[in-house]
C-alpha cells in the first residue's frame, strides 16, 4: 500500500526468521513480513500511509548489515536474511516501550481506549512493569475539537493522526508542535469547518483522540461489533457498527459508535458520526400493511431514493412488473441514462478507472463535481495522489472550493450549464497527441473551439496551461461527477467521455450520485415525468413508505436490514443488521403481491446477471480485508467487452444561467435526510452565498428567503460565507425529509428568490 508500486516487477527471494519468501521487489521488509504472517511489533506504522518511522519499534537485523534496520522503511532486497527477534532487538524494543510509558497517566480504568489500546498491549507484551526514566510532568489540558476531543497527556506522538489528516484526508488541519517532551498535536484551525471525518481519531493508538460523544459511555469490550458498509455515498466504505444496550432502564440495543478498519480504509464524517438514523418504535399493524398493499396494486408510479439496497431495488422492479407501475428514482435516473449511453458507446459495462488509479495518478482532472462534498472518499484519493506523487489537480467547476485549495493546482471555472461544451473542449485537449479514428478526428476538427470556450468561459489559454500540466507525467485520471447526470445533454456528454476514455491516456472514474444509484440503475428500468398515483419507497409520494418514520408505513433504515449495495469500485458489498426492527419490510408487501421471497436476502442470488451481478448468495459474501490490505468484501461486478458504437453529436447551444443561481449540495458529513436525523451530524440548513450573491439577490446576512426548485419549496436563512467565491449560492437539501429525494433537475437552478423575513426584525 504505502509505497508507490515499483515499475520493475522483479521477483526476489528473502528469508525472514528462517522462512523463505518469494515476493516482488518494491515492498518493505515489514510489508513482506505482515503478508506472510510474521509478527514485527510497531507503534507508529499505519499501512495506508507512507512509513512514519517515529517509533523505531519495527527494528530488525539483516545479515551482513551493521546495526538495526527499520523494517517499515527499508525495502526488501534479493537474498536478504532477516531476523525479527533476538535478545538485542527485544531489549531495544523494551527500552522504546519504557520511554513511551514515561509519565503516561495511569487512567486505564476510565480511558476509552482501554482494552484496544496499542500502548497497553505493547507495555504488557514487553513487560514494562515500572517507570525507570523520568521527566517533569506538566499540565496538559484537554482540548475540545467539536466531534473529537484531544487529551495531550495521553498522546504518545506517533504522528498517525497528522499523517492521515495530511496524506489521506488532505485537509492539513493537524500539525505537530515539536518540542521534545513538550511536543503536542496542534489543530491549526480549531474554529474552521474541518471536514469532521474523524480519521485522526480512528487511527489514534491511545486514548488521546476520542469521540466527544462516545467519551466515557462504554468500554471497548462491552460493544457488539457488526460489520457493515456505509451506503450514504457510492464509495460504500467498510464500517463496523458497535452496539450495546442503551442504559440500565432501557435494554434496547443502541449504536454507540462506528469504527472501521483504519489500517487499510477510511471513512468520512457522514459514515462515522451519522450512524443513529434507525427507525425506532416501528410496529406491525396488519391494517396498515393491507392499505399499503392495496395502494401498491393501483399505483401508477413507484418512486424510490438512491439509498435503496440492490435487493429492495429488485423487489420494487418485480412489484412494478406485476402491477404495471413505472419506476422513478430522481437520484439515479440521470445516472442510468448516462450509463446506458456509456455502455452502448463504449461496449463496456463500466468505466475503467478505480479509486486506486486516482491515488496513483500524477495528473487528476476533476470535472463537474463539488468533490469534497459529493464524494469525500474520491477527494481522499485525490489528496493521496497530491501528497504521494505530487500530482497536479485540475478542478473544473463553476464554484471554487476554498477548503480544498491546498490540493488543487489549477481551478478552471466554467459557466453552469456548459458541461457539454467543457467536455468537448476536454476531448479536444486530451486527444491532441493521440491516434484517433478519422470520424472522431473530423468531429474534433469541426468543433468550434473559440465559440465553446467563449460560451463556457474556459479560455484557450487555460486549456493550454492544463496541457502544460501534463508535461513529463504518466498517469492520468479524469473524475466525472454528479453535475452532468441531470444535465439535459447527459447522453452526448456520456459519449464524449467514452471518446476521452478510449482515445486519450486518461483513466476515467465516474462518481455515481447518492448511495446505491449504481445498483438501482443496473437493476431497475427507470423513467421520469410519469403522471398518476404514486407510492414512494423512502421518497415523497402520495403514499410513502418511510424509513425516517414519518410516512404512511414504517420501513427499516439501512442499519436495520440486510442487503447489498453497489459501489463506485463496481463492487457489491453486504450490509448487516445492527439494530432490531419490529415493523413491516418491503418484502412483506411484495409477498402479499405474490412476488416476494421468503427473506429479502434470497434475492441477492437473483440480481440480474446480464447487468454484471454474479449470482452469489448473501451468506457467501465475504467481509473485511485481506492480510495485504485488499478489500475482499462481496465481489466485483463482471465486466463485458464488446464493440461499442460511438456517434458524437455537436454540442448544443448552451443555455445561459443569468440572475440568481443556486447549486444544490450537502456538506460532506450531512449528505441526506438520514444523517440529518442522526444526533451528531444534524445541523441547520442555510443558504450560503457570497457578498456578490447577496447584492445580486438584494439580501443581507440573516435574511429568511423562500424559493422553489423543481416544485419544491425551500425556506432558508441566508448567510454570507467569505471563503466562497463567485455569484452562485450553495443550497443544502438534507433537511427536506424524503422530499429531498424528489428533486430531479440539474443541480444549478435559476431561482426567483423571495425575502420573507429579515435579520433585523
Amino acid at each position: 500500500m504505502g509505497v508507490v508500486a515499483n515499475k520493475k516487477n522483479k521477483t526476489i527471494t528473502i528469508t525472514i526468521d528462517g522462512k523463505e519468501i518469494t515476493t516482488e521487489y518494491g515492498k518493505t521488509i515489514l510489508q513482506v513480513a505482515r503478508e506472510n504472517d510474521i509478527y514485527i511489533p510497531t507503534m507508529c506504522y499505519l499501512t495506508k500511509v507512507e512509513p512514519i518511522a517515529s517509533c523505531r519499534m519495527c527494528v530488525v537485523e539483516v545479515e551482513g548489515v551493521d546495526g538495526m534496520i527499520l523494517s517499515c522503511q527499508e525495502k526488501a532486497v534479493d537474498g536478504a536474511v532477516i531476523t525479527t527477534n533476538t535478545k538485542d532487538l527485544e531489549r531495544e524494543r523494551q527500552n522504546i516501550m519504557k520511554l513511551y510509558d514515561v509519565n503516561h497517566p495511569l487512567e486505564c480504568g476510565v480511558c476509552d481506549k482501554s482494552g484496544e489500546c496499542d500502548l497497553q498491549n505493547k507495555t504488557l507484551e514487553f513487560n514494562v512493569s515500572q517507570q525507570s526514566f523520568t521527566a517533569k510532568d506538566m499540565h496538559r489540558p484537554v482540548q475540545d475539537w467539536g466531534f473529537i476531543s484531544y487529551d495531550p497527556a495521553l498522546c504518545i506522538m506517533c504522528e498517525k493522526c497528522v499523517r492521515v489528516c495530511n496524506e489521506i484526508v488532505g485537509s492539513e488541519q493537524l500539525q505537530i508542535s515539536v518540542g521534545g517532551y513538550k511536543s503536542i498535536i496542534v489543530n491549526t484551525q480549531p474554529e474552521s469547518d474541518c471536514v469532521s471525518c474523524g480519521e485522526c481519531m480512528a487511527v489514534c493508538p491511545v486514548g488521546a483522540l476520542v469521540s466527544t460523544d462516545f467519551k466515557y459511555t462504554s468500554n471497548a469490550w462491552e460493544l457488539n461489533k457488526i460489520p457493515s458498509a456505509c451506503a450514504f455515498c457510492s464509495a460504500g466504505c467498510e464500517l463496523t457498527y458497535e452496539t450495546k444496550h442503551e442504559s440500565i432502564e432501557n435494554p434496547e440495543e443502541k449504536i454507540y459508535r462506528v469504527t472501521n478498519n483504519f489500517e487499510f480504509s477510511s471513512l468520512c464524517g457522514a459514515g462515522r458520526f451519522g450512524f443513529d438514523f434507525e427507525n425506532r418504535n416501528a410496529f406491525k399493524d396488519p391494517a396498515k400493511l393491507e392499505t399499503a398493499v392495496e395502494v401498491m396494486k393501483r399505483a401508477d408510479i413507484i418512486r424510490m431514493s438512491g439509498l435503496t439496497t440492490n435487493e429492495e431495488a429488485l423487489l420494487l422492479q418485480k412489484i412494478a412488473n406485476q402491477t404495471g407501475a413505472r419506476l422513478e428514482c430522481s437520484d439515479a435516473y440521470g445516472f442510468s441514462r448516462f450509463l446506458k449511453v456509456y455502455q452502448a458507446a463504449s461496449g463496456r459495462r463500466f468505466w475503467g478507472g478505480s479509486l486506486k488509479d486516482v491515488s496513483e495518478s500524477d495528473v487528476v482532472i476533476s470535472f463537474a463535481t463539488r468533490l469534497k462534498d459529493d464524494a469525500p472518499m474520491v477527494k481522499n484519493h485525490v489528496a493521496m495522489a497530491v501528497k504521494r506523487n505530487k500530482a497536479r489537480v485540475i478542478y473544473m467547476h463553476p464554484i471554487e472550493d476554498a477548503s480544498i485549495q491546498n490540493l488543487v493546482t489549477r481551478f478552471v471555472k466554467y459557466e453552469p450549464g456548459s458541461e457539454e461544451g467543457v467536455a468537448a473542449l476536454l476531448l479536444e485537449l486530451l486527444t491532441r497527441e493521440s491516434e484517433v479514428p478519422d470520424s472522431l478526428k473530423s468531429y474534433i476538427e469541426e468543433l468550434d473551439i473559440g465559440n465553446l470556450s467563449g460560451e463556457s468561459s474556459v479560455s484557450e489559454e487555460e486549456l493550454d496551461a492544463i496541457k502544460g500540466d501534463f508535461w513529463k507525467r504518466k498517469r492520468f485520471t479524469l473524475i466525472v461527477g454528479e453535475d452532468i447526470f441531470n444535465h439535459p445533454r447527459v447522453e452526448n456528454i456520456a459519449k464524449i467521455i467514452v471518446a476521452i476514455e478510449k482515445f486519450s491516456s486518461f483513466n476515467v472514474v465516474i462518481v455515481p450520485p447518492s448511495g446505491n444509484s449504481l445498483g438501482v440503475s443496473l437493476i431497475c428500468d427507470l423513467s421520469s415525468g410519469n403522471e398518476g398515483y404514486s407510492v414512494g419507497y423512502n421518497c415523497d409520494a402520495d403514499f410513502t413508505l418511510s424509513a425516517l418514520g414519518d410516512g404512511d408505513l414504517d420501513m427499516p433504515a439501512l442499519n436495520q436490514q440486510e442487503g447489498t449495495i453497489t459501489t463506485i469500485e463496481k463492487r457489491v458489498v453486504p450490509l448487516h443488521v445492527a439494530l432490531g426492527y419490529d415493523g413491516y419490510i418491503l418484502n412483506d408487501i411484495a409477498k402479499a403481491l405474490g412476488v416476494g421471497s421468503e427473506y429479502t436476502i434470497d434475492l441477492t442470488q437473483e440480481l440480474p446477471k446480464e447487468a454484471g451481478f454474479r449470482g452469489v448468495a448473501f451468506d457467501d459474501l465475504e467481509i473485511g480485508f485481506s492480510v495485504a490490505g485488499e478489500d475482499i468484501r462481496g465481489y466485483t461486478l463482471e465486466e463485458s467487452e464488446s464493440e461499442g458504437s460511438l456517434e458524437l453529436e455537436e454540442p448544443e447551444e448552451l443555455p445561459s444561467f443569468d440572475g440568481v443561481v443556486v447549486y444544490c449540495v450537502n456538506p460532506p458529513h450531512n449528505p441526506n435526510p438520514f444523517t440529518q436525523k442522526a444526533k451528531l451530524t444534524k445541523m441547520e440548513a442555510k443558504l450560503v452565498g457570497t457578498q456578490q450573491f447577496a447584492t445580486a439577490a438584494k439580501l443581507s446576512e440573516g435574511d429568511t428567503v423562500e424559493f422553489e426548485i423543481d416544485g419544491k419549496k425551500f425556506q432558508r436563512v441566508f448567510t454570507i460565507d467569505t471563503s466562497l467565491k463567485g455569484t452562485i449560492a450553495l443550497n443544502p437539501t438534507f433537511d427536506m425529509g424524503l422530499s429531498a429525494f424528489t428533486v430531479s433537475s440539474y443541480r444549478f437552478s435559476k431561482i426567483n428568490i423571495k425575502k420573507v423575513g429579515s435579520a433585523n426584525e
Partner: protein, 207 residues
C-alpha cells in the same frame, strides 16, 4: 501420603473388637427383668444429666445459649460476603468508583450493570449502577477485581424484602455520607495486602 494410600479404604490395622454387651434376652422373663431394671435404676436421668444441668443454668442462672434471632445476632467474619457496599473516599467523601467496568466484566452471573458518562468536571461519572441480587451468587469476584476498593462485600445478609431493588441501587449500597467516619476497609479478597507499603516503588524523580 500419596494417592494410592488415600484410595485404600482398609486403612490402619484392622483392630476391630466386639463390644462387651450382655446378650439380648430371649425369654419373656428375661425381657421383663430388663425393662424393670432400666426403669427402676433411673438410667434415663443419667442420660439427661447434662441437659437438665444446662436447663437449670439457662432458666435460673442467666446462662442462655440460644441466640434470640432477630433480637440477637451472632458476630460474623469480616470476610463474610453478603450484600455489597460501595465505599467513599475518606478525604473528599466522593464515591470511589471510577466506572472502569471491571466488576461488570468479571461478574460470572452477569448481574452488574453500570451507565457512565463524561461529566462537567471532565471525569467519568457513574450515572447509574445496579446489581441484580436475584442473580448474584456472592462469589466476591467484583470486590477482588476492583482497582479502587470501591465495591466490597458488607455484612448485611438479611435480604428478605418486598423488592430486591431495595438493595441494588447505588445510593443504597454507598456509605451514608454522615457515617463516613465509621467506614471500614474490607479485609476480604482484593483488599490491600499487609505489606503493600513495602511493595510500592516511587517514580524516579531526577529533576
Amino acid at each position: 501420603m500419596d494417592l494410592e494410600n488415600l484410595k485404600d479404604r482398609n486403612i490402619g490395622e484392622q483392630k476391630y473388637r466386639m463390644l462387651d454387651l450382655e446378650p439380648t434376652p430371649t425369654t419373656g422373663w428375661g425381657k421383663f427383668k430388663r425393662v424393670l431394671r432400666r426403669s427402676v435404676k433411673l438410667e434415663l436421668l443419667v442420660g439427661l444429666k447434662v441437659t437438665i444441668r444446662e436447663m437449670f443454668k439457662a432458666l435460673f442462672m442467666g446462662e442462655m445459649h440460644t441466640v434470640k434471632y432477630p433480637f440477637e445476632k451472632l458476630p460474623i467474619s469480616p470476610r463474610y460476603r453478603a450484600i455489597h457496599e460501595m465505599k467513599r473516599l475518606l478525604e473528599s467523601g466522593h464515591y470511589r468508583c471510577i466506572g472502569c467496568g471491571l466488576c461488570e466484566k468479571i461478574c460470572i452471573s452477569d448481574c452488574i450493570r453500570m451507565d457512565t458518562r463524561y461529566d462537567e468536571n471532565q471525569r467519568k461519572e457513574v450515572s447509574e449502577y445496579t446489581i441484580n441480587f436475584g442473580r448474584c451468587i456472592f462469589c466476591g469476584y467484583c470486590a477482588e477485581v476492583c482497582p479502587e476498593l470501591a465495591i466490597v462485600h458488607g455484612g448485611r445478609y438479611e435480604t428478605a424484602s418486598e423488592q430486591r431493588a431495595s438493595f441494588s441501587l447505588f445510593e443504597d449500597m454507598l456509605t451514608p455520607i454522615d457515617k463516613l467516619k465509621e467506614q471500614k476497609e474490607y479485609p476480604g479478597f482484593g483488599a490491600v495486602s499487609p505489606n503493600a507499603d513495602e511493595n510500592i516503588k516511587p517514580t524516579p524523580l531526577a529533576y
